[in-house]
């Protein structure tokens, strides 16, 4: 078990290194940090000094090594745009993104999985057909269009919910939470729905397809031939067998939710990491962008690990191999 976790982490290492290399390359190929940091009238000597100070005269692999060892300690230098440590910028913004992503993920799973099961079991009922048609809209509607439609209806026309921002937040240690105030919760509704709809419809269709697949298998037919109740067949035998692929996709989707938050956060001016990233792109704020990329890839690695562990819990065939 421990060996399994360690081997998975080792497998993830190359991925992280590649992402780190890309982030690092951003520094070299996009923009010129020296020019950005020096004032207009700096002399050639000033420039040389700064280059040496930043270590830019070293070979690239030495610089890369330094970049990595700093990154491991959460050290990404100063933001060009805001002149503040990148690590504290990200720490400030992370709670907003994580709360948004968590709510969207909870919605996705709590609504999407049951809908998928229902439409799989009652595949010919008109409700299932209706749900599937609606879900097709959900899959094909771009996130920003949906976000703006929601804003138009619920914020502008009906005036029920705020159209931007996070509402009031409560500080708990370094974590700022919007979940504890009424205005914070109200502000969360529209962005969370916007972020959830695509994933929700996707997972509904996926669970449905998996369910249909499993219901056709021999072991389900045999379970029927043994005279088991429909409930135990559908929600025991069938559901458990759909879980394995669904866990993978759900994991990827959680990663997707955090990554897609960029668009949602921009539409709703949600003060999270995604919005920070977009602002940084606009200003060619490389340190922030690099840190964000690395963080997101780390999130994916962690999610993948969690997915593997869940597999391990669900499927005895995997347990046997180790």
């Amino acid at each position: 078990m421990v060996a399994f976790v360690i081997s998975r982490l080792l497998q993830a290492l190359p991925v992280l290194l590649v992402v780190a290399l890309i982030s690092f390359a951003l520094f070299t190929f996009v923009g010129d940090p020296v020019a950005a940091m020096l004032s207009q009238d700096a002399s050639a000597a000033d420039r040389e000094n700064l280059v040496r100070l930043l270590g830019l005269d070293q070979p690239w692999y030495v610089q890369f090594w330094k970049f990595i060892s700093n990154a491991v300690q959460g050290e990404f230098g100063l933001s060009y745009r805001l002149s503040r440590p990148v690590s504290s910028l990200i720490a400030e913004r992370a709670p907003a993104t994580l709360e948004l992503a968590f709510c969207a993920a909870a919605m996705t799973l709590c609504i999407g999985v049951p809908l998928g099961i229902f439409t799989g079991i009652y595949k010919d009922s008109w409700i299932s057909r209706l749900l599937l048609t609606v879900s097709l809209v959900g899959v094909s509607l771009p996130i920003f269009v949906l976000g703006m439609l929601l804003i138009l209806v619920f914020a502008v026309q009906l005036g029920w919910l705020p159209s931007f921002g996070r509402g009031e937040t409560v500080q708990i240690g370094w974590w700022s939470s919007g979940l504890l105030t009424a205005s914070g919760l109200k502000a969360l509704i529209l962005p969370a729905i916007t972020l959830a709809v695509f994933q929700l419809t996707l997972i509904t269709r996926l669970v449905r397809a998996e369910m249909l697949e499993v219901l056709r298998t021999d072991y389900i037919k045999f379970a029927r031939a043994r005279g088991l109740s429909n409930r135990s067949i559908n929600f025991g035998h069938a559901l458990k067998n759909t879980l394995v692929p669904v866990i993978t996709i759900a994991g990827l989707q959680l990663g997707g939710i955090i990554a897609f938050a960029i668009v949602t956060e921009t539409v709703f001016q949600w003060p999270g990491m995604g919005f920070l990233f977009i602002q940084s792109v606009g200003a060619a704020d490389i340190p922030v962008m690099a840190a964000y990329l690395l963080l997101i890839s780390l999130v994916f690695v962690v999610i993948n690990l969690a997915v593997d562990l869940l597999y391990y819990a669900v499927d005895p065939r995997l347990r046997a191999q180790r």
Binding site: Y219, F222, A225, G227, L228, S229, S232, N241, R317
Partner: protein, 323 residues
Amino acid sequence: MLLEVKDLRVEFPTRRGVLTALNGVSFSIAPGEVLGVVGESGAGKSMTGAAIIGLLEPPGRIAGGEILLEGRRIDNLPLAEMRKIRGKRIGAIFQDPLTTLNPLYTIGRQLVETMQAHLPLSDAEARQRAIGWLEQVGIPAAAQRIDAYPHQFSGGMRQRVVIALALCAEPQLIVADEPTTALDVSIQAQIIALLKRLAREQRTAIMLVTHDMGVIAETADRVAVMYAGRIIEIGPVRQVVRHAQHPYTAGLMASIPPLDRKVERLAQIDGSMPRLNAIPPGCPFSPRCPHVFERCRVSRPELMPAGATDAACWLHDQPGASA
């Protein structure tokens, strides 16, 4: 009679019209009897079994006829009623033991849930019986292996587990659809012997679908031969094997090497079985039949007494005639 199938007709509505997969199938099985069912691929053997346990794949449906279990119709029962019959009164064994067991549940759990679905047993009692069944079907160290998962068993062992599952609620009839086809030749005989022994001990009747005429000859009391969705000959196993009355059966039997050697597949009869949408009028076997005559092409023979068996062939319409 334990099971009576009367004039069973199964249809599949398709885009290009209704296919009749079974047409006028009638036979019966007595308590404790083993009925062998043979016939070329696509003849309707599995379809007959599925209709009996009420598990035809939609859109397939029973369009006519009756199925009676101890005199009571079971082909039109509500789902909940039929569920009480499946497993409890009619068990099933499928072809491929590698796909028949749920991979995520231990075999013990699958046995226990099956027994508890039909018998008033506590968890402890059911588990005790499950171990007993595993011993019965010859799983070594049953008490330890009961908590193992299907993938931890070989194919032959898994089919033993499937047999235990089919028998554990003590049904009166088992529909076994090619129970050994997917297994190694070396263990096929063991499985058949096991099935036969347990069925005899429990007084369970078996409808045994197989391609293996050797198995039929050793195991079955009677044989039904199917062709293009019909039974074309049915009778005691010795008579059908030695003195087949229908030209198709005769062809099948002629292609069997002596009984002490195993045969894999049936039939080297020229031509092939007609597709369901192109069954010729008259006798369905007429395009391939060496004895075909006028009448065969215009009118369809039903099962009629022929020697010691019943055969659907016009050659037996006149007294004293034989194939």
